[in-house]
Symmetry: C2
Subunit: 212 residues, 2 copies
Amino acid sequence: MNQQKYNFRAVKPAEIEALSMAMIEKELPHPIDETLAPIIKRVIHTTADFDYADNLVFSENVVEHALKTLRGGCHIVTDTNMAKAGINKTTLLKYGGQVSCFMAEEDVAAEAKARGVTRASVSMEKAAKIREPLIFAIGNAPTALIRLYELIQEQQIQPKLIIGVPVGFVNVVEAKELIMTAGVPFIVARGRKGGSNVAAAIVNALLYYPGD
Amino acid sequence: MNQQKYNFRAVKPAEIEALSMAMIEKELPHPIDETLAPIIKRVIHTTADFDYADNLVFSENVVEHALKTLRGGCHIVTDTNMAKAGINKTTLLKYGGQVSCFMAEEDVAAEAKARGVTRASVSMEKAAKIREPLIFAIGNAPTALIRLYELIQEQQIQPKLIIGVPVGFVNVVEAKELIMTAGVPFIVARGRKGGSNVAAAIVNALLYYPGD
């Protein structure tokens, strides 16, 4: 049988992740900070891309801030329904948290069209009205980060954490550099790479962080 | 203002994608097949990873087969809710299609646990009972591809297309090689890379394919 030819590893479903993480650990291009390791390794687990051992940038003590916010119950806002779908809602709910994405809402689309801005930009304004501790998980739209930066400057919003990992070619690199200057705790994938999957992986890495 | 410093391109929301695609076209490491280009470029657009110019493998005439199936109305099955969330349902519905993911269903989890197999494996068995033209978009679980291979060998299922792009470290490379021998049209990301985002991007590239 063909299956034999490929030498599948006999591994129980529950063991796959631990084995993957051990392989990632072994193949890391260089040692990584112990506090940041669970996040970096989960992003590599999600992408099989070791570039993330180098391009993730963390503000000072960001993990400590993030865990405090997440474990105290918070509202996570994403810029794609994919990122929302990828976040572990069971664990988030356990901490009293919730996750929203406003991108597909009709009023957001209508307003964006009328004003000639992106839906992501309008979504951020909508999120700014939420009166709970806020975490942003941005995996797609650089305009979300640009609008967040402006809202922070205008003191309309004070996010507890911005996960800034949009992917792409137009204004993405620049928007990520900008958000790192906003004075808010951040985790950013510097450069073009990122994505909704990366945004969700970072949230999940924080949700699964050891030492609860 | 800081924003000035970063030289954002003045580009309208509707133009971002076309500009991104033009940049990708220009940076491709080598010329790519014209028929496959819309798929390869959309995956690079989704990941900012030019490795996909080389690691995507296509069975013969797969685009032609896939378009015929998609445009005739079909049932797409994914192995994550993220991939399901990322597929353009409006366009899919226009063609009379639908998309399902069985991973989070309680009976699937219970049966997987009882049998000591993955939920992905049980999900594929559930999908095999669907009596409509089937496309699989697998971005996460190598066991989904292994089970699909077995179900095809047992003549329990005859998918019209398998998008086999799970990401990861354990049995992923091998499962992708296996599915390419199943005798079913495929699009596979050879190697470790892939993901739910890549699976959704490939479906969307086919949904948006020119010449409808």
